[in-house]
């Protein structure tokens, strides 16, 4: 327990110490909200779909959670490079606990980031359907965060330097985001795109966030939650398997 706690605490401390990173990471969601939200708003309204900003806000929150989570997972590579990983791996504690502590730390941070972006959307004019449901939305953010921190960590166990990071961004993170229905409705899209969206785990995260924040969902909230939970457990299991097999050169 103390291992999990101390590694969780480390991630939290690192997050709050990098103030410039926190501020920097708010630029992108803000840009998406303003440019897309206000840019496409009128067209969306004309198409009879209602308020685009309301539709977009949960998607952008999901995006921030995704990016932060993957980043904190992949950060394991830095620990590998700059040595701190060795320090934890020779400690007399189980690797599963190390992996769990790190991952929970990362997902807590990504959830905080999600909440900050939620506050940002309020500033721009977004209003949730029901304030009580916001708490549930935070739970969803945490689930999304855990899935992608664990995924980032699993990937980082097999990479040895940051060269691969750009690859992860272009071929994993960006597609995960853009194909998840975060910025467009899934109704009536081409069949092929819909199939891809249904494979993308973030789709269910975005859908669950919409269910809690604006009371609309493409699937249903129960299904979203089941898939997110199942996937979370699966990826944590795979991640810790990878983690336990990792060698330090």
């Amino acid at each position: 327990m103390t291992t999990i706690y101390i590694l969780w605490l480390r991630q939290i401390k690192r997050y709050f110490r990098s103030k410039s990173r926190i501020v920097g990471s708010l630029g992108q969601p803000l840009l998406f909200l303003v440019a897309l939200g206000f840019g496409f708003g009128p067209i969306y309204q004309k198409a009879g779909e209602g308020n685009y900003l309301d539709f977009l806000a949960p998607g952008v929150i999901a995006m921030s959670v995704l990016f932060t989570a993957i980043f904190f997972g992949v950060e394991l590579i830095w620990d590998k490079q700059f040595g701190f990983l060795k320090e934890t791996l020779v400690a007399p504690v189980s690797r599963f606990n190390i992996m769990l502590g790190r991952t929970l730390g990362g997902s807590t941070v990504a959830t905080i980031q999600g909440v900050i972006v939620f506050l940002l959307t309020l500033l721009i004019g977004f209003r949730p359907n029901s304030w009580a449901m916001v708490l549930l939305a935070v739970v969803v953010m945490f689930l999304i965060a855990t899935i992608f921190t664990a995924l980032g960590t699993a990937i980082a166990t097999i990479l040895n330097d940051m060269h691969g990071f750009q690859l992860i961004m272009s071929f994993l993170v960006m597609p995960l985001f853009f194909l998840s229905g975060a910025i467009f409705p899934l109704q009536g899209i081409p069949r092929a795109l819909e199939i891809i969206a249904r494979i993308d785990p973030l789709t269910y995260g975005v859908d669950a966030l919409r269910a809690t924040l604006i009371g609309q969902s493409f699937f249903n909230f129960g299904l979203d939650l089941t898939i997110l939970l199942g996937l979370g457990v699966l990826i944590l299991a795979v991640g810790s398997l990878f983690f336990s097999r990792m060698e330090v050169k």
């Binding site: 291992t3 401390k13 701190f84 060795k86 020779v90």
Partner: protein, 264 residues
């Protein structure tokens, strides 16, 4: 029963044989110096002994138990000061010590006193609340050594611990190692490029080159064997005077890059 017993240990990285069929044993309470030129296989051996790398073949026994089966028990019994940095730059000196103490199960009672005492010992107490990234190389080194002393392991591995430290600091640190070795019967496994240190400290010396142990024995035995008067001479006689190519690993390259970008 020896505290560490190594039998026919081999480690290959693809075609390169880093450690080639070495065997040795270390008795409890012994100071064992593992010497060799750059790239000889010292650090790879230490990584296998500390469960960070899996051997390609061969067996390691810690306190009579195979470390592959009992890796957690092994880790509970060892401490290590790594050759390359292993601190968290974004944490303070105190936090680095504290996290280590928790991870290594140093009991809550006395944890604070121990950390205080060690930070004072390496002269970093005044800087305890500063982030490690603001420290100089020597300060980081001292902090790592202090951290290594935090829990009292059965075997302490010191991989070139005094690299980059001034003679005063080196002296103080070796005195302490000697003292714990004597008082607590702690076994010490050390590597160093300072032959004088090895000569003063070690009960037993093994010299490794190209992954093979080429000589082993007490200081006197080594001198006799090579008909020399110091460990340094014996070392040079055994390993030759040629300078070894030590290729920069991707890790080193990355460190250099980072140094370029983060000037302080």
């Amino acid at each position: 029963m020896p505290i560490i017993e190594v039998k026919n240990l081999t480690k290959k990285f693809k075609d390169f044989v880093a450690v080639d069929d070495i065997s040795f044993s270390i008795e409890k309470g012994e100071v064992f110096a593992f010497l060799g030129p750059n790239g000889a296989g010292k650090t790879t051996t230490i990584k296998m002994l500390t469960t960070l790398l899996k051997p390609t073949s061969g067996d390691i026994y810690f306190d009579g138990k195979n470390i592959e089966e009992y890796n957690k028990e092994t880790r509970a019994g060892i401490g290590i000061v790594f050759q390359d940095p292993s601190l968290d730059d974004e944490l303070t000196a105190y936090e680095n010590m504290y996290f280590h103490a928790v991870l290594y199960g140093v009991t809550k009672i006395g944890r604070k006193d121990k950390i205080t005492e060690l930070l004072k010992f390496v002269d970093l107490w005044d800087r305890r609340d500063d982030l490690v990234k603001t420290f100089s190389g020597g300060m980081k080194r001292r902090l790592e050594i202090a951290r290594g002393f935090l829990h009292e392991p059965k075997v302490l591995f010191l991989d070139e611990p005094t690299l980059g430290l001034d003679p005063q600091t080196r002296n103080v640190i070796w005195e302490r190692v000697k003292k714990i070795n004597k008082d607590k019967q702690m076994t010490v496994f050390l590597t160093t490029h300072y032959m004088v240190e090895a000569e003063q400290m070690a009960d037993k010396i093994a010299i490794i080159d190209h992954g093979k142990i080429i000589a082993m024995g007490t200081v006197d035995e080594l001198k006799k064997q090579t008909q020399t008067t110091s460990v340094e001479e014996a070392f040079l006689k055994l390993t030759g005077k040629q300078i070894r190519a030590d290729e920069a690993s991707s890790v080193d390259q990355m460190r250099n890059r980072r140094k370029m970008f983060t000037r302080r």
